[in-house]
Amino acid sequence: MSATLCATPEEAVAGIEDGSTVLIGGFGMAGMPVELIGALIDQGAADLTVVSNNAGNGDTGLAALLARGRVRKVICSFPRQHDSWVFDGLYRDGKIELELVPQGNLAERMRAAGAGIGAFFSPTGFGTPLAEGKETREIDGRTYVLEHPIKGDVALIGAHRADRMGNLVYRKTARNFGPVMATAATTVVAQVAEIVEVGDLDPETVVTPSIYVDRVVAV
């Protein structure tokens, strides 16, 4: 169904349930859906599993969500940053679970969820602690680890522009995890800088087709 245009971030995140798996776009702050995360904090869903490349910066955005104790588990590639003190503290205190995933496997596992792939053999991580306990296989002389899809109940992503159907374009390296997360969640919510009329986006340049987008809000 065509995307719903929401008037506010609050409306855009309505109905997210306790225990949900939430995919959150962004690489550092680029592409981070800051207003949607703020609305999720106000909305109150708890016991969340958050899938995101990083685990929050400073005291705002994802870090603020973690600080409220709303997140049970983080699945990410790079939690440790110079300003990741909120995550660091929770992790050291044993108050948050971490599944550390190499960045490419993180992206590809979400792609698999979106593309209907049941599992795939990745060369990344073979022979390292991050592949411990996973099935391995040698194929054509190379060694691989079997990786499974990561599917979200909700994805919160940041894009540059949407048309009123929900087609999305991104801007520079803020694109990062947005397109793949948009394919991998049951409900996909995009915040954008601008919503334009249908027909105003060149069909050759659409990065996320409207089929993947459920709710759009301009911030």
Partner: protein
């Protein structure tokens, strides 16, 4: 009276929800597009890499813009283009709401046979049929209920090579529409034939329409 092809297409079109993302298979299913109501907001997908495909091209043919049957088509406002890997990721990933496919046979448990007659000298060709069969949220089949030789096409088990296993949700035919539910084959609607007569001509147990 049994339904004509155009009437069958109209029955299918009536059941497609407004705003749905839909793939219409090559052949008869393409007719469904003509019966979608104005302003339905239904978005057509074509497997060769496009969403919001428009009607067949008239005099202005663009060789770079075709449907899955390689016929020239048009684009509607809000369309998008993507490559074949992305297009089939969309199909396989369960993002299409409905696909409508033709069939040689459908079994009572939803197996589909629509790509190969099994004749030894036939050139096999499958295209995107197997991806569509297992990919869409709802898989509709549109076919005549009986083949030219009089044999039923809704069968206890397919004798033709399968396209997909347990994948068909609903079967639209010229004589009746069927839901293939876990509880059995439910007759939704009949056209110029009684359920008893239908039951007599088919080799699968039929459930009456839900009240």
């Amino acid at each position: 009276m049994s339904l004509s092809k155009q009437e069958m297409a109209a029955v299918v079109a009536r059941d497609i929800p407004p705003g749905a993302f839909v793939n219409l298979g090559i052949g008869q299913p393409v007719l469904v597009a003509d019966h979608l109501p104005e302003g339905s907001g239904v978005v057509l997908h074509t497997e060769n890499g496009m969403l919001n495909m428009g009607p067949a091209a008239g005099d202005q043919v663009d060789p770079d813009l075709t449907n899955a049957g390689k016929q020239p088509v048009t684009e509607l406002p809000g369309s998008s283009y993507f490559d074949s890997a992305a297009s089939f990721a969309m199909m396989r990933g369960g993002h299409l709401d409905v696909c409508v496919l033709g069939a040689f046979q459908v079994s009572a448990r939803g197996d589909l046979a629509n790509w190969h007659t099994g004749e030894p000298d036939a050139i096999p060709a499958v295209g995107g049929a197997m991806d569509l069969a297992i990919g869409a949220k709802s898989v509709f089949v549109m076919m005549t209920l009986f083949a030219r030789d009089g044999s039923a096409k809704l069968v206890p088990a397919c004798t033709y090579p399968l396209t997909g296993v347990g994948c068909v949700d609903r079967v639209y035919t010229d004589l009746a529409t069927f839901d293939l539910s876990p509880g059995g084959v439910v007759v939704r609607e009949t056209f110029g034939i009684s359920i008893d007569e239908l039951a007599g001509r088919l080799d699968v147990p039929l459930e009456p329409p839900a009240k």
